[in-house]
């Protein structure tokens, strides 16, 4: 069984024809060659595959691709400005040593982008709770949390 549908990915309308049980992550990575979202577990545990669907973070590895029909999907590749500039969160990650191996980074950036859309002044506790679905094995999280605090301080 295959499914043909359209969705908006990083501002562009795309039409894909994939197996009906295909996940959004595989469509993004294998069909649209957007490999910024990573596959860390394929079981909804690590958050490395996080993308935004209609602005909400989802684990794209367990999100059925056809469920994105007609929706707006944002991936890490779509965050940078047209001039290539980084978002405040991305900039704070770079400047604040919040990236080590970086495999978790796109997922963290997407989750946090959604968080500060909803809550422009998150507390440390808010950040830690928002990140409960994102694993980072390298950093111990402190630099990531500080990066968000820096980015939101500078924004306001």
């Amino acid at each position: 069984m295959s499914a043909e549908f359209s969705m908006t990915v990083n501002g562009r309308t795309v039409t894909v024809d994939v197996a009906a049980d295909e996940t959004l992550l595989h469509v993004l990575r294998d069909e649209l060659l957007l490999t910024g979202a990573k596959e860390g577990c394929d079981e909804g545990e690590c958050g490395a595959c996080t993308v935004l669907v209609d602005g909400k973070p989802v684990d794209s590895c367990i999100y059925p691709a056809p469920a994105a029909a007609g929706r707006t999907v944002s991936t890490i590749e779509g965050l940078v400005g047209s001039d290539g500039s980084l978002t405040p969160i991305q900039r704070a990650f770079v400047d604040g040593f919040a990236v080590q191996c970086g495999f978790c980074t796109p997922g963290f950036v997407m989750t946090l982008t959604a968080l500060i859309e909803e809550n422009s002044k998150p507390t440390e506790r808010d950040i830690r709770e928002a990140l409960s679905g994102n694993l980072c094995r390298c950093t111990g999280y402190s630099t990531i949390i500080d990066a968000v605090l820096t980015a939101t301080e500078e924004r306001s």
Partner: protein
């Protein structure tokens, strides 16, 4: 630029990583790639009666189904040649590769895997250390005597399921025990720990012109080269390994994984082949940190002196020897160090079981060895009713400390400074106060891995500096920050003007891999060696351009200038451009390997890893609160004082401390990878195997103790590996303090905490 060493300069690879542009091993694709999947043994032990590949081979899209019959009939290993590529007669662990399927798509390959019919006559597995060591236990390998050490390694004591035994007995230990006021004996048990790097293992290989090229994200491409060569029975030069960005490793990417399979398959199907593990395959087959049992007994005097010790440790290497026969050397460095113990006997064994082979994980064996030693240290102090910190200081080693291998630590007295620094930040008397709270301390020394490295520096015509090195960036920043900053300072340029290559074994000299914190120390030193040669050339070429003698010019701020006349100067770009047609490109190389420290080979038998080079010194303190109803533990405060030689990038070192402590907290409290009586892992997914999340980890406080090393670049020693080592011990001691009961297992579960509380109430 007045030098970037010692400054926290943001790493250049962070930008492509936050943009999602960085290509990791698992993202890498070659045109025309076929995909493969492995058929893994569903049982831990048994005889293979037959393998029927016909149904799988008939599936749409399947190109080949490969078994041991198609592979070279060879066994190989890191220390002992005991492991075949595919099991043929017997299977020795659940997850052992039996066959491989190559297909047009990963989906097709994975689907066809379930169509390979493997008929196995199961036998009861040797599922635990205890079972393997029981008199008359079944042998995991009946043919163990036919296995030979890898070429160049001498034989060592091994017998049946005991694949390695290291014994250090200086004599007189029993007499020393006889004179002790008290004898304290403890037994500690540690479960396995899975590295749980975020990028699952993968490999992509292509066979062309009678050579294999393998694309990896790997900590040690040169080991992939030599191990793949031996697995396939070809010369190492027939293998080329190219590194890509790596999503963590923590030791699990030091030995080969999927690479020899990908190489073999690529030759058999004459097309590029990509092999990718899904997470459950990755967890099942990963060379996790070994489980272990430690028995420790010490004699102590009423005045606080430790006078005698016996330290026995059994490590589970799983079904193949891997690196565990090296790890059994580590107890000799820790059992009699940090605290003086004049008379110590150590016996450590590596033991075969029918379980997944274990292997390197950051802080190899040190995590549980330190847990045992430091939990025991608390028990010794409590036995003679001495304050636990005072007891430690009373027994602390000093400059000139002799380790049990006879190696002398000339600077061990720095440990006293480290204890004093901890006291300044987290006064012992103020920590762990209040109901259900406790404080714990742990100290250790750790090594910097001595494996060699090489660097070539080239000054480009636009003034940028190329660093050609086989060093791998595992994520720590050792290459992205450390090596780059050290290189920049050789010419006084901005680190952004330094370009560092990715590893490629055809291009660079040998590199000993991203292991044991060696990269900044060893590769950084090789940069300095190369820098000396390059600066000489730059000075000569610059002097010629300026019409001066080489002695009268100097390099700085991206220029060569006349000494004392800073405005008479030429840029490095001008120097390199002019030199190109005068003397040829400006290129210089440097190599470095740590000299082997002096030691006494007669101190031990079976000591395959005989010294502890370039040691660093560490003290950790933890404050916890336990919930008396649920047994849950909160780490309230965690402070690390770490001796680092010299911090090339302080924020980078602090990041390693924070990350290492987080992994240590996981190890201490959540992460047990347990083996059931059936020989199978109980935790099989990332849901069941619990890695710490942001809510579990406190803000770790770090104090860097600088104490430059003569050999290291700018004095730097290793920094990234050791912060994990004392964590379970510090937390274990804090929980024992909070509960008043025994804490003798890793991980320390809520049930253990409740038991400890109950035990205290009974007393």
């Amino acid at each position: 630029m007045s030098g970037s060493v010692g400054k926290s300069v943001p790493r250049l690879d962070a930008e492509p990583k936050v943009r999602g542009e960085a290509v990791y091993g698992v993202d890498f694709e070659l045109t025309g790639t076929l995909y493969a999947a492995l058929v893994l043994s569903p049982v831990p032990s048994g005889r293979i009666i037959g393998i029927d590949t016909s149904a799988a081979a008939a599936q749409a899209g399947v190109r080949a189904v490969v078994t041991a019959e198609d592979a070279p009939d060879l066994r190989s290993g890191l220390a002992l040649d005991d492991e075949p590529l595919f099991a043929s007669d017997t299977v020795h662990y659940e997850g052992e590769p039996i066959a491989a399927v190559v297909a047009d798509s990963l989906k097709a390959a994975r689907r066809a895997v379930s169509d390979v019919i493997v008929n196995i006559e199961e036998s009861p597995p040797v599922a635990s250390l205890e079972a393997a060591l029981t008199e008359g236990a079944p042998l995991v390998h009946e043919n163990w005597e036919t296995f030979a050490p890898v070429p160049g390694l001498p034989e060592w004591p091994r017998q049946g399921n005991v694949v390695g035994e290291m014994t250090a007995d200086p004599g007189g230990v029993d007499e020393a025990f006889a004179g002790a006021d008290h004898i304290v004996e403890d037994v500690f048990v540690a479960d396995r720990q899975y590295q749980a790097y975020l990028e699952p293992k993968s490999a992509t290989a292509i066979y062309e012109e009678d050579r294999y090229t393998i694309h990896v994200s790997h900590q040690y491409p040169w080991n992939v080269r030599s191990r793949t060569a031996r697995a396939l029975g070809v010369n190492p030069s027939r293998i080329r390994v190219i590194g890509h960005h790596m999503g963590g490793g923590f030791g699990a990417r030091l030995d080969v994984g999927l690479e020899p399979y990908a190489a073999l398959l690529a030759r058999l199907v004459r097309a590029p082949v990509k092999l990718v593990f899904d997470r459950s395959e990755d967890l099942l087959t990963c060379n996790s940190r070994e489980n272990a049992i430690i028995r420790i007994r010490s004699g102590v005097m009423n005045d606080g002196r430790i006078v005698a010790r016996e330290f026995l440790c059994d490590m589970d290497c799983g079904a193949y020897a891997t690196d565990t026969v090296f790890l059994i050397s580590i107890p000799i460095f820790l059992a009699g160090s940090v605290y003086e113990v004049p008379s110590t006997r150590v016996v450590a064994r590596a033991v075969y079981t029918n379980t997944t082979p274990t292997g390197a994980f950051r802080g190899v064996s040190g995590t549980y060895l330190n847990f045992a030693l430091e939990r025991h240290t608390d028990n010794l102090a409590n036995t003679i009713a001495m304050d636990r910190r005072e007891f430690r200081i009373r027994n602390l080693m000093d400059d000139g400390h002799r380790m049990l291998n006879g190696q002398i630590l000339t600077d061990a007295g720095i440990m006293r400074t480290a204890f004093a620094e901890v006291e300044a930040v987290a006064p012992w008397a103020d920590m762990g106060k209040g109901p259900n709270r406790g404080v714990g301390m742990a100290a250790t020394l750790w090594l910097t891995n001595p494996a060699p490295g090489q660097v070539t520096l080239k000054l480009d015509v636009d003034g940028t500096l190329g660093v050609i090195t086989g060093a791998s960036e595992i994520g720590t920043g050792a290459v992205a920050m450390g090596v780059r900053q050290i290189a920049a300072d050789e010419l006084g340029i901005d680190p952004r003007d330094v370009i560092v290559t990715m590893p490629d074994t055809d291009v660079q000299g040998h590199d000993g891999g991203a292991q044991g914190s060696r990269t900044t120390h060893i590769v950084g030193r090789a940069v300095r060696e190369a820098g000396t040669g390059l600066r000489e050339q730059v000075v000569r070429a610059g002097a010629r351009l300026l019409g001066e003698l080489p002695d009268d010019v100097e390099i700085g701020d991206g220029h060569v200038s006349v000494k004392g006349e800073w405005n008479r100067r030429v840029t490095l770009a001008e120097v390199a451009t002019q030199a190109l047609y005068d003397v040829g490109p400006l290129v210089a190389s440097g190599s470095y390997a740590t000299p082997t420290p002096k030691y006494d080979p007669d101190t031990a038998v079976g000591l395959l890893f005989p010294t502890f080079p370039t040691p660093t010194y560490h003290v950790h303190i933890a404050e916890v609160e336990v919930d008396p109803d649920t047994g849950l533990v909160t780490v309230l405060r965690y402070v690390v004082v770490q001796e680092v030689g010299k911090a090339i990038t302080p924020e980078g070192v602090i990041g390693q401390i924070q990350g290492g402590v987080a992994q240590g907290i996981g190890y201490a409290l959540y992460e047990g990878l347990q083996i059931g009586e059936d020989g199978r892992y109980r935790q099989r997914t990332l849901e069941a195997y619990r890695v710490p999340i942001a809510l579990d980890v406190p803000r770790v406080e770090a104090v860097l103790l600088e104490h430059p090393d003569e050999e290291g670049p700018h004095g730097a020693k290793g920094a990234a590996e050791p912060p994990i080592v004392p964590v379970a011990a510090a937390i274990g001691n804090a929980i024992a303090d909070a509960t008043g009961g025994a804490i003798n297992r890793i991980p320390i579960t809520p049930e253990d905490v409740l038991d400890a509380l109950a035990e205290n109430r009974e007393d």
